[in-house]
Each structure stands twice: as C-alpha cells, then as structure tokens.
Symmetry: D3
Subunit: 136 residues, 6 copies
C-alpha cells in the first residue's frame, strides 16, 4: 500500500537572475527587476513529497525525522539566510530561477533518499509563483 | 529536464447556477441556494500550471510575464468584476459551475499556449470547494 | 479577568457599489469596475470579536455555540448566497461597501449581544482588502 | 470531459502513535513525543478529491452536497472530537499515523462512492506534515 | 519609538473541557463534544505580541531569539505533544478552554518578560475559533 | 462613524542586519545568520491600516485606489526587488530590522496621508515574525 508524505520547510535567501556570460543590459532585458545587481530575496516555501510503501510495522512511509534531517542538511544549512548566487556552489554559474532551485534541491535529496522512494519537489517563490520538479 | 510553473491569479465574480431550459423550481431543486435568481458571488482563486522543458538559456519553463499576460487577457479582463452568466459569452448557455469555469479557462489558455506545453487548471471557488481540469 | 473570543464565518454574496441618486456614469467614475450594473461578488470572511470577563465556572467568555447562532441568524441566513443590493433590506439604499457591510453586521450583532460585552468586526472582502468596525 | 472536485473538511482529534505489541520503551524509541501515553492531538485538514466526467446536464462531476454527506457520515461523525485510538474501531490495533488515517478514510469513502469515480485523499496533520493516499 | 513584535509558535495537544466537580452528564450538557472523556485535540497556533521601545542600537524591540527561548521553555516544552488535562500542573483543576490556556500562557510569559514590555496573547484553537488575552 | 480599512501589499527584498560602526564579528555576534555579508531576503507582507470616518456619500473611509497608489509610490517602487541596505536611502545607516522597516514605511505614508486619518502598519517578515508600528 503506497502513500506519499510531504514535509514542508521554509528558507529565506537573496538571489539575482543573472547570466555572467551576458551583459548587464541583456540580463536586465530578459530578467527585468529580478536581475537587480544588488540582489533581492524571498521566503521560499519548500514541499518535499516522498512516495513509498507504508511500512506495516510503523505505519510510516518514512520517518519524518529522517526526512527533516535530510532537508536540514541539503537545503536549510546551505541555502537558509544565504545569497544563492554568492554563497552556494550550485548557483555560481547556474541561474537561480525557481525552476533551477527546485531541480537542484531534487538532485541533492535524490542522492540521499533510498532508490525505492519516489521524489517530487514543490517550491513557492512568492504567494503567486510556484514550481514543481520530479526528475523527469 | 521538465518542470511545471504555476501562476496564481484572483478574480471576483457574480454567478448563478442555472439552466434556462429548466423551470425556476427545478433549478432551485437541483442547485439550491446557488440558484438564487439575483446571483451570489465568489473570490475565485485560479492556479495555472504549465509543464515544459526548462530552457537551458534562461532557466525558465516559460517567462511568467508572458503567462501573466495570457491570464490577464483570457481570464482577468473578461471575468474579473463581472457577472459570469450575464457579462460573458461563454456562460450564456453553459452553467457556470466551478467545473465548467475551469474547463472554459483551460480551453481559452490552451489556444494561447504553444502546443509543446502541458496545461492544468486548479480553481478554488471557496476555501472548501476546489476543482481541477487538465483537458482529458 | 477579561479576554476576547473571535468566531470566524464565511459568506458568498454578489454586490455592486452604487448610489441610486447618481447617474450610471457618476457611479462608474467613482466606483470603477465595482459598479458593474450586473454585479460581481466575493467570498466575505467575517471575524466577530467579543470581549468580556472569563466566566470562572465555565472558562468561557461566551459559549461559541451561542455566538455562532447569532452569526447564523443575523449574517449567514440573510447574506450568504444573496445579492446584497437586491436581496437585503439594509442595502436597498445603503451602498454595500465593505465599511458599510461591517457597520451593518456590527449593529445587528450589537442588538443581540448582552450589553456587558464589547464587540468588534473584521471583514475581509478579498485577500488584500479588509475593514474593521467597532461602533465608535 | 473529466474534472476533479475537491471538498475540504476539518476534524479535531486526539491520538497516540503506539503499537500494543511493543513495550512503552520501544514505542517511545520509535515514535518519540508522538507516543505520549496520555495522547496529544491535531486539527486534521482533509481534502477529498473525486475525479469523473462532468455531467453535461448539471455541469457537476458530483453534487458536493452528496460528497459532504459522505464525509460527514464516514469521517466527521466517527472521528471529529474523538480519540482515534480509543473511540474508533479502525485504530484499535492499527497505528493512527497520518498515512494510516488517510488510507482508512480512503477505504471508507471508496465503499460509498460509485465505482466510476476516481478517489484521492490528502490529509494535513500539521502545517508542515501532509500525506496523500490514492489506493495504489 | 515604540513597536510590537509578534512571534508565532505551534503546539499540538490533547484536551477535554471538563470540571471534575460536575457530573459527566453536566459536563456533556455544557461542553458538548468538547467534553469527550477520551479527549480530542488541536494544533494550537500561538501569537505572542511584545510591545516596547525600539532599541536604537540594535533596531530590535526584543531579540526574537530570546522570545523564542521563553516560548520554548514556557509553552512548547510543557504543552507540545501533551494532554493538557493530564500532563500539566496548570490544568489539573482549571478547565483548558482556549480562554484559560491563553491566560495561563500570558501569566507564564509575563513572569519571564521584563516589566517594561507590554504583552498580548492570541491563540488559535481552530481555523474558526481564536482568543485574545492581555492581562486586563 | 469610524472604521479602519486595511490594504495588503507584498514586496520581495534582500537585506542584512548590520551596523557599519561595528566589526563584522560584533555584527555576527548580535545578529547571527541575519548578518550574512552577502545578504539574504524575504517576501515582506505589508498591512496598511487607515482609520477615519466613513464618508456618508461614498461609504468609503478612503478610496483604496488612492491608498494603493501611495503604497506603490512609497513602498513598492523603492523597496520591491531591491536590496534594502544598498538600494535605498533610508537604510544606508539605519539597520533594516523589521521594526525599523515598519517605522520607515509608517513615516513615509504618514506624510502622504491627510492628518485626519489614523495610521498603523503591520509587517510580516516571515510566517512566524511580524511587527506592528503606529507612530507612538
């Protein structure tokens, strides 16, 4: 019997939409205000959805304490209260759009999570802009 | 690498559940208070979910400015602060249930959106009543 | 020992900002889209805040069952799934702005509530527009 | 034309994560604070998602009044303001994890719902812990 | 220059509305389902509002780390994942209505907080029932 | 007859808690992660509460279009998608704590708003940290 468990976490980060191989003007043309050279920021709300069999012994798909630890290690510690462009390795050259942030988080958690589980990410950048990534 | 982007919009509209080929009594029997002849209304919350490849150049599935423009043209302009039964062409004869509103919005946005994208609609009529439509 | 209890209710209504002694043009000039002659509507979220002594016997300021009944009688029954301009007595000539709706609800509940209680109303018309009324 | 309708309900219940065939110590080791012998509790938020054809006559997938009645009978009446471990038959021996509660609710509603409909359950145990169950 | 800072915390607890000097019947008559002998429970959402001068050196009314520690000590540790009637000293004889819980939390935090600060408590028992207490 | 109207707006900004007359070490000691030299950021949610007489002619305390324009000019244009420390004049030397941001917004709007109105600001920095400022 399969179920999904979803753990929600929040992190607050600065970022800038930016390609270093483009001029400031082109960055501004394509990314608008989101390309402000001094950065802006968001309260990112992350939903990590893990699908698997319900363990008949515990009634858990996965102990949420373990899932919370993975999220703390892979997302909260490196991204919370950071500048995504400057303080992280992943976004040195990768543009930190919500799509790319979700994909990076998915890849980091995928490596930590046993292969028998399915994994989907939902990331809210603002109340009105949300992305989903599931590794397809 | 595929992702989904979701853009959220709100519109405030009056409507009445009603079939013009039924008597007022039958409308009342089937649709209850929702068939009040003088209309009632809702703050509709719309989630437009677009799935596609993440463009490696921009890191976007789709520029949300473009998606917002489509939603403004196809949904906000014709439906916001309107009476769905009286002020729109689509619901002259089609009963404006949440299911039908979602289907109509899907069809309007489907025509605007490049065929390579997937499209799903989620429409909240109240805090407790929600519908989903994806063109199946 | 004084406390406040807040009961929250939701009603869905159509309305139109409109003064019958003004021309349609003037109504449009002053009230914009909100004056659409065919009405629009909202999910109104109402917060009724009652202040009083905590009864040492029950630990209640007021039994919320009683407060819910008052709200059902005075607000839900006459306003939910109605057209405020057409289906209610109060807004035949009074413009149903959020301010006026809150004031009317306050007056109706004030008459039902024992004089020893304080009463405040908070009414959310949309996620971004809210009013407060406390009888001052 | 297929759509999904989602009805949301809330119930407030006490529970304890617990296996009667384990010692109190082992329950505590595995389930932590959630195994407190005197119980703790939650405001569970339930989303019932029903998929089916939009009836061309009514514009409904399903009359939400009927869905609300099923939820009232199968979930609200037996679970709301109850102790899941003590006051229900289902959790006498089944550990009331969110996963198991969602599966039990799915099974109860599945029996009531016509076979032509699809059924999915989403259950929020807290603001940060959510589960999904769809009978797979 | 005075401001208020509000820190929000959540705790999950079981309780029962109950007076030990009343019969079970009378408890049932007055408190209804809330008096279920096996308890029910809630996700309580707590807002702690502290008013004081903005410290010109730090720009803080109060370091929220300190406020969080007080809330952890006085509320989270004793109340979270507990049965308020059984596992706490305060509600051995005091009926754990939302009003009384708010008053108890206010008194506990008042003792920890320097006298120069104002203190108000807002406690959400459910999405629809909220109380406020400020020591008047 | 007095009422309050509340208009809600959201802006996304980067900031750093920081005093230029303190060493980096001291900033780090006092402000912790919030003092990250590369900045972090938030989705700030702003509630502007204006109190005044309900105009008997319009039923408005204040036309919310005008209030929205003031917020756009004084808050959205200078703060949204900005770095508060670097891109604004106000926070060149003033530490951009939530308290100080609320006070600055209050002062800017106070100058725009007719003296007959009362003004209060509520600013949500995260889901759990909120401040209020009313000019006292």
């Amino acid at each position: 019997m399969k179920a999904s468990v979803i753990r929600i976490a929040n992190f607050n980060a600065a970022h800038r939409l930016f390609r270093s191989d483009w001029s400031d003007e082109k960055n501004r043309d394509v990314f608008g205000l989101c390309s402000n050279p001094n950065f802006h920021g968001h309260n990112y709300k992350l939903e990590v959805n893990v699908t698997g069999d319900i363990d008949p012994e515990t009634g858990f798909v996965l102990d949420l304490k373990l899932l919370k630890e993975m999220i703390d290690d892979e997302v909260m510690e490196p991204f919370d209260h950071r500048n995504l462009n400057r303080d992280t390795e992943e976004f040195q050259r990768l543009n930190p759009t919500a799509e790319n942030i979700a994909a990076v988080i998915w890849q980091k958690l995928r490596q930590r999570l046993d292969a028998r589980y399915g994994l989907k990410i939902r990331l809210h950048e603002t109340e009105r802009n949300v992305v989903e990534f599931d590794g397809r």
